[in-house]
Amino acid sequence: MAYLQVNGITKRFGGIVAVDKVSFEVNEGEIVSIIGPNGAGKTTIFNMLTGVYTIDEGEIIFDGCAIHNHKPQEVVKAGISRTFQNIRLFQDLRVVENVLVGTHIKTKYSFLDSVLRTRRFRGEEDEKVLTAIRILKSIGLDDRRDDYAQNLPYGDQRKLEIARAIATGAKVLLLDEPAAGMNPQESAELLQFIRSLQKQGYTIILIEHDMSVVMNISDRIYVIDHGKPIAHGLPKEIANNEKVIEAYLGGVSTGA
């Protein structure tokens, strides 16, 4: 069985079937993209994967355990973390604090430890701060460490969301349109960064409308339309798939 196995998940909102019996699988260390027209149900799939929505049918199996309908915080603990389509940083916190919040579940000291400032508290706290700073370095945000998240430019906010997701210690990262609002040069940089994450062993599921990113980085691509899967395969295959071109790509050059 694959690392992450999704079998026939379905989500309805009133009369709308937002996601209709979608199945896919992701292997460890892969970058898999999910693409499809607006309102196809991509974000909804992420919401189901991370426990924001309960699923109406189907199952999600991660690393051998069923995780569907678990609470979001349990899903994170299991090792899946995400970013949001609309940026949701802790705007009033500093950059480094945002990442520290991410380390929350990996922190073990108790409430009493923190009130008594035990050695365990100090040791662990130092370690987490260090982890946070190292993550920021790797993503190129180290020099903005003391800034408040709110004051970051858009692109940096996107990066910080990723940094925060990494800090949870998750092995699977779900990125929802990370390149939105970036210009071609910036998305090229992002592309590099995502590649480097893959090298570090992360498994990545990506939602993106920017084909220059998707086609360049994905190991495999799933395409959904109206909540239903319509195609999947290697980037090249998808770029030339008639159905996909009709429903989604139009005449756009895919850069693949």
Partner: protein, 291 residues
């Protein structure tokens, strides 16, 4: 006796509903709990009293007091709340501001009118009707009719008119509403005017019913009406009506069966029970939080 108490409770509930509408109107546009509403209500009642004592005749006096109280609402918005909106300050700053306003109004009323209870002329005092062994006064009937009429009118304004749409737009996203050509500050001030008018109507009716006014009169009534508004789903006018009636009747029942000393917390007990089952009140919509 129970029938009588239920009816008394309904009248009381209508009074709460009238007040609750004011909370809902303002909340419905600013997402702000206007803690000065109870004081505005007291202001309306005192203005009516003052004008009545000037021998204008009761109807013109009451009508004038509606205008004055409505203008007070506008004044509050323009002087205290609009500047906060301009600065995009945190919501709770507005809340504290309304608490400050409430202090000012209530204490100024005390300064000018004295803190003691004063007599207010009876309104609609046309006698009593008996249905079975329930006695209903005309005052009670008129309170119900006026309240229902007012609420119907407000629902129509909010749901069916252009300014009503603008009001809902302002609540959801004032910046976008402004960009769509809505004069947001005007719409908000207008809402405060409506809120003030509804408070003054409540002030005149309730004072005419109990024939008592005093500066503190809006305190407990205001809190309970606020509870009623939330109970119904704050922001919703039908919710305010149902919430008000529920609070009124349960209070009356509590006073009958548990004793009058329990009545003040009854509104809150009912409220908590309802909210545990329905976290957004009876008619409240769930806030949209798509991830």
């Amino acid at each position: 006796m129970i029938g009588q108490q239920i009816f008394n409770g309904l009248t009381l509930g209508m009074c709460y509903a009238l007040l609750a509408v004011g909370y809902s109107l303002v909340f419905g546009i600013l997402r702000l709990v206007n803690f000065s509403h109870g004081s505005i209500y007291a202001f309306g009642a005192h203005t009516a009293l003052l004008l009545v004592s000037m021998n204008l005749g009761i109807v013109p006096a009451v009508l004038l007091s509606l205008v004055f109280t409505g203008l007070l609402g506008v004044l509050i918005d323009k002087t205290a709340l609009e500047p906060l909106r301009k600065k995009n300050s945190i919501p709770i700053a507005s809340l504290i501001t309304t608490i400050g306003i409430s202090n000012i109004i209530q204490n100024l009323l005390t300064v000018f009118f004295g803190s003691e209870k004063k007599a207010f002329p009876a309104l609609f005092n046309f006698g009593v009707i008996s249905i079975g062994n329930i006695q209903i006064t005309w005052t009670q009937i008129c309170i119900c009719i006026v309240s229902l009429g007012l609420m119907l009118l407000l629902v129509l304004v909010v749901k069916k008119t252009k300014i009503g749409l603008a009001m809902r737009g302002c609540e959801q996203n004032p910046k976008a509403a402004n960009l769509m050509g809505v004069n947001v500050n005007f719409v908000i001030s207008f809402t405060f005017f409506l809120g003030g008018v509804s408070a003054a109507i409540a002030g005149a009716l309730i004072s005419g019913y109990y024939q008592i006014v005093y500066p503190n009169m809006g305190y407990m009534a205001g809190l309970k009406a606020f509870a009623a508004a939330v109970l119904g789903g704050i922001g919703s006018i039908p919710g305010a009506l149902v919430g008000g009636l529920l609070v009124g009747v349960s209070e009356s029942m509590a006073a009958t069966f548990l004793g009058s000393t329990y009545r003040d917390c009854m509104a809150f007990v009912i409220l908590i029970i309802v909210l545990i089952v329905r976290p957004n009140g009876l008619f409240g919509k769930k806030g949209i939080t798509k991830v």
